[in-house]
């Protein structure tokens, strides 16, 4: 049976999607602009239907460590927060990455630094894609631009985190968390049975029920030669992910003279800017990275070829632009436009920036 189309906020959609995709446990702590995730889960009471655990922890640090523990037993677990709360989770995220465990973390970004503002932002790009926590690790980072993608990326995130036993982050901005759009939810995916979990996660610390060898999950290895091996294994996995999982969307790139690179909802504001520019005879194409890590380096490189300039539009002071500059080898101008502290640029502002920084330069 086809699911009916509903109107939902991005945050509500995340909660519905978590249940539908067979999540075993959500551990969170409220913070604007993503509190509706926890609220919606509490309202839907999935513990009475699918048996999913929903728990408001005493803090963000506790929540991420509950995720660490749940993931270690092979369960499908997740947490969500917004920028300041995600900073608190970074130690746990580094441990989960080091221990090669599956976990989904949602960050609905708000303006920082510090406690900042509750308005939308994309200023956690560096934190999400370059580390955040300590050590050489990567998260798979998915950037949704529609409420439907909020739903879809929960499913995709669960699949990827188990496929690579690696944490996945959905990096959303406050806009897509707070706005309502049409969504179609997936059919209910049943939660995995204990047997299915044992089969999918032979590494899980689930009680040695079948007399198997002891599974030890730790991020500690004091012998450097062994720690180097672990690091090489992680790096090999990251190369594999780069090869298989890089995702992006292109709009009107082929006939364009100029290129805009933007992610999340800002890519949609830029798409409107593209429409406005076209009315003035300016041809703009858009590349929207969907995975921020792995970054679609080759796609951006190809799309930029033959163009007169590239504008990177972000809700920050210039973060993704570093990856765009690495991708564009030619002698092309690559400029940045962004608003800070929770201000959302209008499509007109993006067109003006394109003219001032690239076209009339």
């Amino acid at each position: 049976m086809k699911e009916e189309i509903r109107l939902m906020k991005g945050n509500e959609a995340i909660a519905h999607a978590a249940i539908r995709y067979g999540c075993d446990g959500y551990f969170g702590y409220p913070i604007t602009p993503q509190s509706e995730v926890l609220e919606t889960l509490e309202e839907l009471m999935p513990w009475e239907t699918t048996g999913m655990v929903v728990l408001q922890a005493e803090s963000e640090v506790a929540a991420i460590n509950m995720v660490y523990g749940g993931a270690a037993t092979g369960k499908c677990v997740m947490t969500s927060s917004s920028s300041p709360g995600v900073s608190l989770k970074q130690e746990g995220i580094s441990y989960i990455a080091a221990a090669s465990l599956p976990a989904l973390i949602l960050n609905v970004m708000r303006g920082g630094p510090g406690l900042g503002t509750i308005q939308p932002s994309q200023a956690d790009y560096f934190q999400a894609t370059k580390g955040g926590g300590h050590g050489d690790y990567h998260l798979i980072v998915l950037a949704p631009s529609t409420v439907q993608e909020m739903v879809d990326f929960v499913g995709l995130g669960f699949d990827l985190m188990f496929k690579y036993t690696n944490p996945v982050m959905i990096l959303a901005d406050g806009i897509v968390g707070q706005m309502m759009e049409k969504v179609q939810l997936p059919e209910q995916r049943p939660r995995r049975t204990e047997e299915e979990i044992r089969k999918q996660c032979p590494w899980a610390a689930d009680g040695r029920k079948d007399g198997r060898k002891r599974n030890v999950i730790t991020s500690l290895e004091l012998e450097s030669s062994k720690m180097e091996v672990i690091n090489h294994q992680l790096q090999a996995r990251y190369r594999e992910i780069e090869k298989n999982e890089t995702r992006w969307e292109e709009i009107g790139v082929e006939d364009a003279d100029y290129l805009i690179v933007a992610f999340g909802t800002i890519a949609r504001i830029s798409d409107k800017a593209r429409e406005l520019a076209a009315e003035e005879g300016i041809k703009v194409g858009i590349v929207r990275p969907i995975t921020l890590w792995p970054f679609p380096t080759e796609a951006v490189n190809k799309a930029a070829r033959g163009k007169k300039g590239v504008l990177v539009v972000e809700l920050n002071a210039g973060q993704m632009i570093e990856d765009v500059r690495l991708a564009v080898h030619d002698n092309l101008p690559v400029e940045h436009f962004g608003r800070l502290g929770g201000i959302i640029p209008s499509p007109e502002e993006v067109v003006t920036a394109l003219k001032e920084k690239i076209i009339n330069k």
């Binding site: 109107l7 509750i118 406050g174 309502m180 949609r268 409107k272 959302i344 209008s346 499509p347």
Partner: protein, 178 residues
Amino acid sequence: MKEEIIIAGFGGQGVLSMGKILAYSGLMDDKEVTWMPSYGPEQRGGTANVTVILSDSKISSPVLDRYDIVVALNQQSLDKFAPKVKPGGTLIFDTNGIHNRPTREDIKIYPIDAMEATLEIGNSKAYNMVVMGALLKAMQYKLPMENVIKGLKKSLPERHHKLIPLNEKAIEKGASLL
């Protein structure tokens, strides 16, 4: 069809829920829909606004700087958004507490006394649906009433469905103001 609409006023006037009902009506009419609130520390007494886009095709930006229709329910909102109506577009405003009226001649302007009309109905909570009635008429019922009623039913919790006749009455009253 594509209508880019902003509804702006005081928090507590029912701006966000009016936007929600409009969005649900669009959903019932098979339109693409976005509903983007100015979420923030706005509360009763502060300012609140919501951008609603209804379209036959995929919607790009949920955030806009120019609108086909602006509904302004206080002076601040009128000052801020009247200049942002597209030429040929529509501006609806509640005349209550307005001392500076808009002077643009390139747009359609509908001043309404929605507060007075609401008092005539006798339920102050129906204020936003009076405004909604004016908006729907200004849109020349591009959203058919039957789908608006369906939208109302969708967006109101079941326990409030008994209020639907009142809301319908308010919408009719609002439409009669234009």
